[in-house]
Structure formats: C-alpha cells, structure tokens
Amino acid sequence: MTEFEPKIIAFVCNWCTYAGADLTGTSRIKYAQNVKIIRFPCTGRIDFMLLLKSFGEGADGIIVSGCHPNDCHYTSGNFHARRRWIMFRGLLDMLGIDVRRIQYSWVSAAEGFKWADIVNSTVNTIRELGPYTEYEKVAGYLEKEANQ
C-alpha cells in the first residue's frame, strides 16, 4: 500500500505568508508537496466558510497563515481573523471536528524557514492523524449510500 499523502490546503495572506513562502522558494528550502497555497489579500478576508468548504471537498488538513500581530499590511485584518479563529476553533472542537487538522500560524515575509517548517510539521501531523475519514463519510454520503 502506498503511503497516505494528505491533501492540505493553505489559506495565506498576500503580504506576509505568501511573500514568506516566496522567500522559502528563493532560499531553496525544501518542503512537502502536499500543501498547496491559495492567495488572499489578508487573513481578515479568509472566511470560515472556506475552511468548512475545504473539509467538505476532501481536505485532510488546512493551514491558515498571515502576518504577525501588529504587522498586518492592513493594520488589523489579522486581529479580526484571530478572533474569528478563536470562535471557529471552539465551535469545531465542540462539534468534534478535529482542530488538530487546522494549523494557524503567523509567518512573516522574512520567515522562509518558518514557512517550510509549518508545512512540514503540518504534513507530519496530518500524516499521523491519517485521512479524515470521519468527515469524508459525512461529505461523501451521497456517493456511498444510495439515498436518504
């Protein structure tokens, strides 16, 4: 059997983490292929509904990353995002959606190494947790069970 390759989607802000990930590239620091980035203007833009959608579409893990507190390109988008994450995380936890599958981080434009580390450690965490079969069962309900 081939090793489980987690599908991980990363929601990152344009100014810090996207640039940080660019720096990872420019510095030629290697990381796992499992993580793929979607660019947002700001973490403040990252709707919790998109995280929800990601699990619904089969993500095994999610990374959400942006500028460090006080460094937001738009002053306070990340502060708003942080509050939202706190609430969202609490709700997911209450619902039994494994919060270990969402890694939140602050990665600045200067932290190319940190980005690689976030990616690799998240991939390892998700690898250990295995495929998100509980959620897939819920999401793929129509595929498997005939009806109702």
Binding site: M49, K53, H80, R83, M94, L95, V99
Partner: protein, 266 residues
C-alpha cells in the same frame, strides 16, 4: 395582568402605537403571539412562565412592520434581543415602545436602549448548570465520538429552518444558505448539508447570540442546537471577558484587542 392590558390598550387608544405584540392563549396549553391592533384585542394579552417565544423576532419581519409602530411585551430574553438588534442598527428607539416585564409579571418602562442595558447589567446571561454539565460532558468525549454524537443528533434535521425563522438575530434578507453564487454550503438535507448549516448558523451568531433558546424551542425535531451557541457563549467569556449585548462595546467579532490571547497559532 390587568396592568399590562391597560397599558397596551392605552397605547393603542392614544395611537402611540398601531400594534401590540404580546403573548396570548394558544392551542391546548400553548401560548402564541398575538398582534393586537384594536383596543379590545388587548384583553387577550397574557403573561406567565409558558411565554417563552422570543417576540423580538417580529420586529424585523416585513409583515409586522407593515402594521405600523409596535409596542412589544418584553421579558428579559426579549430585552436582550432588542438591545442586540439596536447594536446591529436594525431598530431605533423611536421605532417601538417596550413593555418590559419581569418574570414576576412586573411592568418596567424603558425610555431608551441605554436603560435596557442598565437593567440587563443586573440580569446577566447565565448558562444554567444543566447545560454547562452537558457541554462539559460532550467536550469530554474523544473527538471522534463527539463528532459521531453530533452527526447522529443532526441526522433528523430536515432543514426546515425553523431555528433560523425563530431567531431574532437571523434577520437577513437572504440567508447565505440560499446563496448559490457561490454555493457556500450544501443546501440539501444530508449529513454534510446539515452539519455545514449548523456550523454556519452558530458561527453567524458567534458573539451575537443572547441565549434565548428560541432556536431550540422552534426545532420540530428537538435537536439540541442551543448547546452550540451556549458553548460559543462560554468561549466568548473565556477568551474575551464578557458577553451579552452592549451599545458601547462593538460586537465580539467586529472588534478586537491587540493582545487577544491564543495559544494555538504558531
């Protein structure tokens, strides 16, 4: 009770308001909302412990707005909702007359929303112990078991949206579940669609919910969805200090503190 009836009648009589929204007798032992537009109809107003429906929901409904300026019978949960609606710019003081009423059926006048806020400082939202215990018990389950618990609980949800209809804070013209550009969440009632709907509903109430339990009371399938919002109220308290509507403070999620604490962000 005669006090309430007298007061309501006087308001209609003087044409200060065009309708009184209050509780009346319903089917069997139930109560139902009545909309008194005539002085004589005020006779039907009642108030007792069965009157739990949150009447504030009608303040934003198109059909009720058409009736004219309302007076609303407002026990504590309704007062909380009124204040939150004020915070969210849905009502203004001149829009309505508030017939405040305590659980002992004492009438209280409120000249302003600020007066409601002052009153509510002595009537803070408290999550009953039976609920905190249930929430703690759920949170103590292993994560997979907890998930299974909720999938099972939500299984009977057929998305009638009674929870949405009964909630005074679900006043959107178009609910996001009905937005198909993009299709944010599954509209269908199946495990994923139900889960997504209830996550979205709870998140949209994050920091706004005033714990009136209207959603739970409305659910024809008896799903304990109020546990989600109650758990979030606890999260608000744990992370941001206080909860409950306030005219000065902004909503929990549209405000922040630079030193908001989190330990899960790397």
């Amino acid at each position: 009770m005669s006090e309430l009836i007298k007061k309501a009648a006087a308001l209609l009589e003087s044409k200060s308001v065009q309708v009184v929204i209050g509780y009346g007798k319903g089917t069997g032992n139930r109560t139902r909302t009545i909309f008194a537009t005539q002085v004589t109809e005020c006779e039907n107003l009642i108030f007792d412990s069965r009157c739990v429906q949150n009447l504030a929901v009608y303040l934003t409904k198109l059909e009720i707005k058409k009736l004219g300026k309302p007076a609303i019978v407002a026990p504590v949960p309704v007062l909380r909702s009124i204040l939150q609606l004020a915070v969210e710019n849905q009502i203004t003081e001149s829009d309505l007359v508030i017939l405040g009423i305590t659980s002992e059926s004492e009438l209280i006048d409120f000249e302003s929303f600020a007066a409601i806020e002052t009153f509510l400082t002595t009537h803070k939202i408290e999550i009953e112990e039976k609920y905190t215990k249930t929430i703690d018990a759920i949170k103590a389950m292993p994560v997979a078991e907890r998930f299974a618990y909720w999938v099972k609980e939500l299984e009977s949800c057929f998305k009638c949206y009674a929870c949405r209809g009964a909630c005074p804070l679900c006043y959107c013209t178009r609910c996001t579940v009905d937005d198909n550009q993009p299709q944010w969440i599954s509209v269908a009632s199946h495990p994923l669609g139900n889960l997504e709907w209830h996550i979205m509903r709870a998140m949209h109430l994050a920091g706004r919910c005033t714990d009136c339990e209207a959603c739970y009371n409305a659910c024809p399938m008896g799903i304990p969805i109020h546990l989600l919002t109650k758990s979030m109220l606890q999260d608000v308290a744990d992370n941001f200090g206080s909860y409950g509507p306030s005219l000065d403070k902004q909503n929990t999620l549209s405000s922040f503190k630079p030193d908001d604490k989190e330990s899960f962000i790397r």
